[in-house]
Amino acid sequence: MKKLMNKPSGFVDEMLDGLVAANPSLALGGDTGRVVHRAKPIRSGKVGVVSGGGSGHLPLFTGYVGEGLLDSCSIGNVFEGPTVGSCMEAIKLADGGKGVLRLYGNYGGDRMNFDMAGEMLEDEGIRTTTVLGNDDVASAGPAERQKRRGVAGIIYAYKTAGALAETGADLDAVTAIAQKTVDRTRTIGVALAPCQVPGSDKPSFTLGENEIEMGMGIHGEPGIWRDTLREADAIADEMIERLLADKPEGAGKRVSILVNSLGATPLEELFILYRRARATLEAAGIEIVRPLVGHYATSMEMAGASISLCFVDDEIEALLAAPAHCPFWTVTA
């Protein structure tokens, strides 16, 4: 697989250098050099919102740092959790004296490192809470929702928690809104072609020339079925059907939808999916608010798409509408 890169060992650090050089609102911090934080220091008295995760998913984890979103993010190697050191640094950079919410995807390594970082910082008097993104419906059944992995849909929780934190709300309130948003968000992906970890000599999974896998995760986690490619409308219908079948308790008739490219799939194809998904949802009596279509959570050059639904209530909808700005997502009042 062809990649524009230098040495594989420099892939993440060189990417981060370029990211902050191109975006003056972001800065790189910590001794590890693996923390992206807002260039402007956190306001005293504001609750911090921190994320983190493996690299290779831009803009997910790394890029959602900015006003009304995250304060900082710790970044691991490609598809590896962030180190405990970088998690500690990210939490400290997000500490405005009112506590810090750790909001990241439900993956073993990420959890262990953020847990260890939080325990070590307790001695320094920084209070932390945790909310784990677990929106991927294909990664475990509804009865084992706590085992599901976190994918694109976590950005809805970044948005609501980030917006509420800007208002001066306390840590418990910011944690509660993040949890509610996660609880009301569902995602499913479909893979068309694999990606390859820099330095590895093989793709992270294989798919036949004309094959797709419904439900595959962002690291090639196995999905629900694998079969020949079919028309976009049929794929969109099945994805929406699976998401609605997993509707959270208390879901109303309004959803925000995110049609996301896993990397290589172009906007053209995303809009073809969106067109059908919207029609299918409306036919089911569901109204769409604040739709998002684009590259929001990727796996480098993986081809495919994911659809996320956030079943909003009035509180979530208002927070999604609040002003926010980062290099990859801007909401204006």
Binding site: T32, F79, P82, T83, V84, M112, D115, G220, E221
Partner: protein, 201 residues
């Protein structure tokens, strides 16, 4: 027979050398269940540990703690972090003792195992490195010489791998492959087997 800082350093050097040949084998084993990076990640972790200068380290417990810190800097992956957690816990148990005895090894492995269970949330029987460490802790009870210890540990790790091959993985990304993992070696358990074999004199 006592275990010294020097013997710990020698074991790390040996493991580091062994990773040269193991890296691709472990990557290939991981590619069946994950993204194929277990070998590369462990090579990086053990390489960082081998860079630690233990020559002026006071005691074996402090050596284990220093090695754990080196491991945490090298990776944030679940296996790497668990590995560091185990070393840290064993280091805490040994803290302040000038030397360790071969007879202490069983308890140190058990301590590492328990700390890793608490941190990672896996249980014995889930087909992970914990099952290998549990087998090693059991096998080292009553061991008297370092030679016997490395032999017994390698044998236990090998037997654990064999025993669990016919069972499914029950945690982490491998869990999602369900019964497809029956007949496939867990990459972490394979790593423990190969590394302990490399330590046999």
């Amino acid at each position: 027979m006592s275990i010294t800082v020097a013997s710990i350093a020698a074991a790390v050097t040996r493991a580091d050398k062994a990773m040269g040949g193991l890296e691709q084998i472990l990557n290939d084993a991981d590619a069946k269940l994950g993204d194929g990076d277990t070998g590369g990640m462990l090579a990086r972790v053990i390489g960082k540990m081998a860079e630690v200068d233990l020559s002026s380290t006071a005691d074996p417990g402090a050596a284990l703690s220093q090695l754990a810190k080196a491991a945490t800097v090298a990776t944030g992956s679940s296996l790497g972090t668990l590995f560091a957690t185990g070393l840290l816990a064993a280091g805490r148990e040994a803290k302040g003792r000038a030397t360790l005895d071969v007879g202490d090894l069983s308890s140190l492995f058990a301590t590492a195992r328990d700390a890793m269970i608490a941190r990672g949330g896996a249980s014995l029987g889930d087909k992970t490195v914990l099952d290998s460490l549990d087998a090693i802790a059991e096998a080292l009870k009553g061991t008297e010489t370092p030679e016997q210890a490395t032999r017994d540990a390698a044998k236990a790790a090998s037997e654990a791998l064999e025993t669990f091959r016919s069972q499914p993985n029950r945690i982490g990304r491998a869990r999602m492959f369900g019964d497809q993992t029956i007949g496939i070696d867990d990459p972490g358990m394979l790593a423990i087997k190969e590394l302990s074999a490399a330590l046999v004199a």
